[in-house]
């Protein structure tokens, strides 16, 4: 790979070259993890076994079923594979729209993370994706909590689903989305609900589908929950955190199902409402109807702006969802049992 600086003009060629060269790396030097998620059967080849284990541990594995789309991913670091260091972006301005347009002209998706110098490309036609980083562990800090997020976004789109930034809670197969920017109370509400016996397909991200008038469904993306020490203490008790290990870069525990008394994760929830949590320190948690526009403002930007492309389709998807679902603000108390009970009762009252 030539050590050049990349610009809009040479981007497609660089992407195709990187995909081609990486796909030809000897497999004997790589570590294979087979991932099965939402109708995708993914062969993920890693140069770093620790990164391979992290992805296999944190990504939800759901049956791919018959006719699964077969995807191959290469998650490679330059140091381990003897490749040149990842090229730098070579223009003064990074024009995201022009970047995406240049790649689209070659039938590709892509993204570039500037400071860690991470390149990510995906070819839907070849069903192949490549991530190139500098050295083992040189992924962004947030990768542990949402590994391969961008590749999953591109891949599930082939099966008609969207990756969304929303938490979920459910009961008997029915569920609600919890939407809002970071810090809005999604994860804390999810953990409180789980402690109260509710199920989930995720506390931060999930996959969503919308049928023709028959509602939305949510599917898991990750088998991991995240919560700060205070939230863990509120939901699970003061000593619960002792089994969750070290805090992550956000000062949160990354909680896996085996560390909970029962696994809260289910493979699907029929989504019947959209809730916007509000940290209100209320005496009792309370739900109040909110307009579809207000729900849209809470749901769409935080989902759309966290992904590198496909924004317009993401906005249209979010708008359909907000128009279709009843939307409520959820004014939270500080009592996890009260929060869980309020949501459980609400879900039970929702129509099938």
């Amino acid at each position: 790979m030539p050590a050049v600086r990349i610009d809009i003009a040479n981007l497609p060629l660089f992407a195709q070259d990187l995909i081609g060269r990486t796909a030809n790396l000897p497999r004997s030097s790589l570590h294979l993890r087979k991932l099965s998620i939402f109708g995708l059967s993914i062969d993920a080849w890693f140069s770093d076994p620790a990164y391979a284990d992290l992805c296999a541990r944190n990504i939800a594995q759901t049956p791919a079923g018959e006719g699964a789309v077969e995807i191959t991913l290469f998650l490679i670091d330059a140091q381990s594979t003897g490749s040149p260091a990842p090229a730098r972006w070579g223009e003064d301005v990074f024009d995201r729209a022009a970047f995406n347009e240049a790649l689209a002209s070659a039938g590709l998706h892509g993204a570039y993370l500037h400071d860690p110098r991470v390149w990510q490309f995906f070819s839907p036609a070849a069903r192949t994706g490549v991530q190139m980083i500098r050295e083992p562990g040189a992924t962004p800090d947030w990768e542990t909590g949402g590994p391969l997020r961008v590749f999953l976004h591109w891949a599930v789109a082939m099966n008609g689903a969207r990756l969304c930034h929303a938490a979920t809670l459910g009961h008997d197969g029915k569920g609600v989305l919890l939407s809002g920017a970071g810090g809005s109370g999604k994860s804390g509400t999810t953990l409180a609900g789980i402690a109260g016996g509710l199920t989930t397909v995720g506390d931060d991200y999930c996959l969503l589908t919308q049928g023709d008038g028959d509602g939305a469904s949510a599917y898991p993306l990750y088998r991991i929950l995240k919560q700060d020490p205070a939230g863990v203490a509120r939901a699970l008790g003061p000593v619960a955190a002792s089994r969750f290990g070290a805090l992550n870069w956000q000062g949160k525990y990354e909680i896996h199902a085996p560390f909970l008394h029962r696994s809260p994760f289910v493979d699907r929830l029929a989504i019947k409402a959209l809730l916007l949590p509000r940290v209100a320190h209320a005496a009792r948690s309370e739900l109040r109807p909110v307009s579809a526009g207000a729900a849209m403002r809470a749901f769409a930007p935080s989902s759309v702006f966290q992904l590198p492309d496909d924004e317009t389709q993401g906005i249209q998807f979010a708008a359909r969802l907000c128009r279709h679902l009843p939307c409520y603000e959820l004014f939270l108390s500080e009592d996890a049992e009260d929060i869980a009970g309020t949501i459980k009762h609400f879900i039970e009252e929702l129509p099938e």
Partner: protein, 149 residues
């Protein structure tokens, strides 16, 4: 401001969704998004259909001068935020059919709610994600620092 020009929505960077009582407008270029309620939402729809700002200002002034000023400020803020752009004289645009949907409310002197702006997502677009954003990382477009040897 060229309030006598015809404007259009600044696609593809700007995307709007109409929820009846509210229009939500997102600027994909900078991560800012906006809420337009009531008569302001009507004014957005009218501008997007090709009604000239000056026509809407004239309706408002007929009710009271300060209302005309409110419409001017609203349209100016839409232009300043890059949400709408003027069509050049050479660009064909069919005349809008029917009266402006904001006309009745403006003539009746109904208040024009200001456009509410939200920039909490802008840092996901513009910030250094490692140092400046502490929640739920997004996609940065920050350019590289000066290259090192």
């Amino acid at each position: 401001m060229h309030f006598k020009a015809v404007y259009e929505v600044s696609t593809p960077d700007v995307v709007a969704e109409d929820f009846g009582g509210e229009v939500v407008v997102l600027n994909l270029g900078n991560g800012r998004y906006f809420s337009l309620l009531g008569v302001s939402a009507d004014i957005w729809r009218d501008l997007a259909r090709g009604h000239k700002p000056q026509d809407l200002i004239d309706y408002a002034v007929a009710a009271r001068a300060s209302l005309g000023e409110a419409v001017s400020v609203l349209v100016a803020s839409m232009i300043a935020e890059g949400l709408i752009r003027p069509l050049s004289d050479s660009e064909d645009r069919a005349s809008p059919t029917g009266a402006a949907s904001a006309a009745a409310a403006l003539l009746a002197g109904e208040d024009v709610p200001p456009m509410e702006a939200f920039d909490d997502m802008a840092e996901l677009i513009l910030a250094d994600p490692i140092h400046d954003v502490d929640e739920d990382m997004g996609w940065p477009v920050k350019r590289d620092p000066a290259p090192t040897a």
